[in-house]
């Protein structure tokens, strides 16, 4: 049984002084796969400007362009509805012995140091243990050993650094999980998306096991179910940055992000 969800992702960037020649790349548009059908999706950008759409090397939709004119606000709204089947998983065939190699080796944010290696040795994958079973164990271990706290880490914090602090946010939880899965030779990737009840964008991971990608959310100690809408995936945070931009002027900037995911209006109350 799938669930119908309405979603809204709104990002506002307010400048204290006008910005111009604003180059942007947005990875903010979800696409359909086996577990989620995007039924409708409107994309709106303020100010109005030239835009292009493409698919990156990881398979994510991205929109890029330039707002040349002066503007004090840069606002993106993505609004639509999705049908999500939490019991289904994205299937993919591995290419012989090459099991998604760029997701199996460590990347910039996940490269383990002594702390992660030590943590892994306490939470080792058993010989012959199914990848998804092991990942479920990890979910719980990370959730138990980490404390969710904002402001302790930032967008540059690596898995090793976050583990040293034993505190962090969803990005850090995901990086730690990726690092451990990769030590255990499990292809795994970083996922950015939206989640019911979160109010903000969310990050979790997908791990590959027996032909399927399983969504795992260490921040909430649960598997990604029908309350999750995926936007993008990559090796780590760096491949999934929602908004990248360079511009002239602008002064200081304030960013607001609002994410709403709720039971679709037409099915609500049933």
């Amino acid at each position: 049984m799938s669930r119908k969800l309405d979603f809204l992702y709104r990002m506002e960037l307010d400048f204290s002084m006008p910005a111009q020649n604003h180059q942007f790349t947005l990875r903010i548009v979800p696409h359909s796969d086996e577990r989620q059908q995007i039924m409708a999706c409107e994309f709106n950008l303020e100010p109005e400007c030239e835009m292009h759409r493409d698919t990156d090397a990881f398979g994510n939709t991205y929109i890029y362009g330039e707002a040349k004119q002066q503007h004090e606000r840069f606002a993106v709204t993505v609004k639509g509805s999705a049908e999500v089947d939490g019991k289904r998983h994205i299937s993919e065939k591995s290419d012989g012995d090459m099991r998604f190699s760029h997701y199996r080796f460590q990347s910039q944010y996940t490269k383990p140091g002594d702390r992660l290696l030590e943590y892994y040795s306490k939470n080792k994958r058993d010989a012959g243990e199914n990848a998804a079973d092991y990942a479920r164990r990890l979910l719980h271990a990370i959730y138990t050993d980490m404390e969710y706290k904002q402001g302790v880490t930032d967008i540059c914090t690596t898995a090793e650094e976050a583990l040293a602090k034993r505190q962090g946010v969803c990005q850090d939880y995901a990086h730690i999980m990726l690092s451990l899965c990769r030590i255990a030779d499990i292809p795994s990737r970083y996922v950015v998306g939206m989640m019911m009840g979160e109010g903000y964008s969310h990050a979790w991971v997908e791990i590959f096991s027996d032909g399927f990608w399983y969504g795992m959310d260490p921040t909430n100690d649960k598997e990604a179910d029908d309350a999750y809408i995926k936007i993008s995936h990559g090796r780590d945070y760096k491949d999934c940055i929602v908004n990248r931009g360079v511009f002239n002027g602008g002064g200081t900037q304030t960013q607001h992000i609002q994410v709403i995911v709720e039971q679709s209006a037409e099915t609500r109350g049933k």
Partner: protein, 439 residues
């Protein structure tokens, strides 16, 4: 003696080189210092037959490396067939997944390759390193030859050698070959770059515009050059002299102020050619170097004409054993470093250094290669009124247009330190002209 005639002019030529700004900038302790690139007038002379042998080997090598890059970013057959272990590709900092399935114009990845060789005392040539990202150095023998011809025309009348002043023409042909329509530009990070002299010199000689990132802009999914009046003109080929990392802040390092936002997006669509192609770093990797003779066999079905220096990968147990047993006579290289950094000789380490190095190598075997020290030939360089012998290497340039072409010259670099085998200009060496005899 014609050589004497030329040698008497060494000082003059160096003065002229200084006046033309033939400098090499280096960063030391975060400070930018420019230093002259000392020129020694005694040329390295390569016989005609010897050069045609090198030519054959270099063409073969660069052809295979191009096929390798195409394969790695598409089918990955060489990995599937287990010729190269996955670790050496996917754990390499040179591999860029962003380049997966991106096809450069005419399938050419390495348009300008700089291959470093040395000639051993055994009279054999050995490949030391492949540079397929942004190899520099061609401008130095070009201008040195020009100045030598001026100061000693007789030398060049009486010796039968290949004219190396055709480099600009070859480069232009290489650029035009992939131009998708529009201007050809040379993109420089600016005058605080080690090779800025070269960027401006090559622009002048090829007739390409010398531009910095702020003069290029992406619009309508195409690349444009914006002139001082604000007029825009389409650009079809960019000989970029900045590294992948700084090329596009929207796709790579977001802190880059010398790149062009979205240039990689339009490159992916085939709307502009970038020379060399992004992602080539994987072919330069010191770990991949070991596999080049194997890739020549794999892609071309031929034995490699030019040999590597004997190399061992601690990644393989057998090689690790050999490296540990012969540690004191090997040179060890960190695959992540370049420019002569991260190179240590087993014999020069103290016992403590050795122990900690071996510990590191055992923890991260993939990170190192070990090589036999090639006892390469000395070349004479002038010192005072006499000559001294110093170690020297040769950077050969291979340009890929419709087919590979080896420039009949090259950059000969020598170490100024009598005990050093490291000839990199960033380590303070000098250079010579390279003569290829035409008969």
């Amino acid at each position: 003696m014609v050589e004497l005639d030329l040698m008497e002019n060494t000082e003059n030529i160096n003065k002229l080189l200084a006046r033309y700004g033939v400098k090499f900038g280096i960063y030391k302790n975060n400070e930018f210092k420019e230093q002259l690139f000392p020129f020694d007038a005694i040329p390295r002379v390569i016989q005609k037959d010897e050069f045609s042998y090198l030519e054959r080997g270099l063409k073969q090598r660069v052809t295979a490396l191009n096929m390798f890059l195409d394969d790695i970013y598409h089918d990955k057959k060489i990995v599937k067939d287990k010729v190269i272990p996955e670790d050496f590709i996917f754990a390499s900092s040179g591999y860029m997944p962003e380049c997966e399935n991106v096809m450069p114009v005419k399938k050419i990845y390495s348009h300008i390759s700089g291959i470093d060789l040395v000639k051993g005392k055994d009279e054999k040539w050995y490949i030391l390193e492949d540079n397929l990202r942004v190899p520099s150095g061609a401008s130095y023998p070009m201008i040195a030859r020009e100045l030598c011809r001026r100061s000693s025309p007789r030398t060049f009348m009486e010796n039968q050698l290949e004219d190396n002043r055709n480099y600009a023409k070859l480069l232009r042909k290489t650029l035009d070959n992939v131009n998708v329509g529009g201007h050809t530009v040379i993109l420089t990070p600016g005058r605080y770059n080690a090779a800025y002299f070269e960027h401006s010199y090559l622009a002048e000689k090829t007739g390409a515009h010398l531009v910095n990132g702020s003069e290029l802009t992406v619009e309508d999914d195409k690349l444009y050059y914006v002139d001082y009046r604000g007029q825009k003109e389409r650009v079809g080929a960019v000989y970029r002299r900045i590294s992948d990392e700084y090329l596009d802040p929207m796709n790579f390092n977001p802190e880059s102020v010398i790149g062009i936002p979205h240039i990689f997006d339009v490159y992916r669509k085939g709307n502009v050619a970038l020379l060399n192609a992004p992602g080539n770093g994987i072919a330069d990797d010191k770990g991949i170097y070991y596999f080049v003779p194997k890739m020549i066999k794999y892609y071309l079905g031929e034995d490699a004409v030019l040999q590597n220096a004997p190399t061992y990968l601690p990644f393989y147990d057998e090689d690790m054993k050999y490296v540990l047993e012969n540690f004191d006579r090997l040179v060890l290289k960190d695959v992540a470093e370049a420019g002569g950094y991260g190179v240590v000789f087993g014999s020069s380490m103290t016992r403590e250094q050795k122990e900690s190095f071996i510990g590191l190598m055992k923890r991260e075997p993939r990170r190192f290669i070990a090589q036999e020290v090639i006892d390469f030939q000395d070349l004479d360089i002038q010192e005072g009124s006499g000559c001294v012998a110093r170690k020297a290497d040769l950077r050969a340039f291979v340009l890929m247009a419709d087919e590979p072409y080896v420039w009949k010259s090259g950059l000969t670099r020598f170490s100024r330190n009598p005990d050093s085998f490291i000839v990199n200009s960033s380590q303070g060496g000098g250079f010579k002209d390279t003569w290829v005899l035409s008969r």
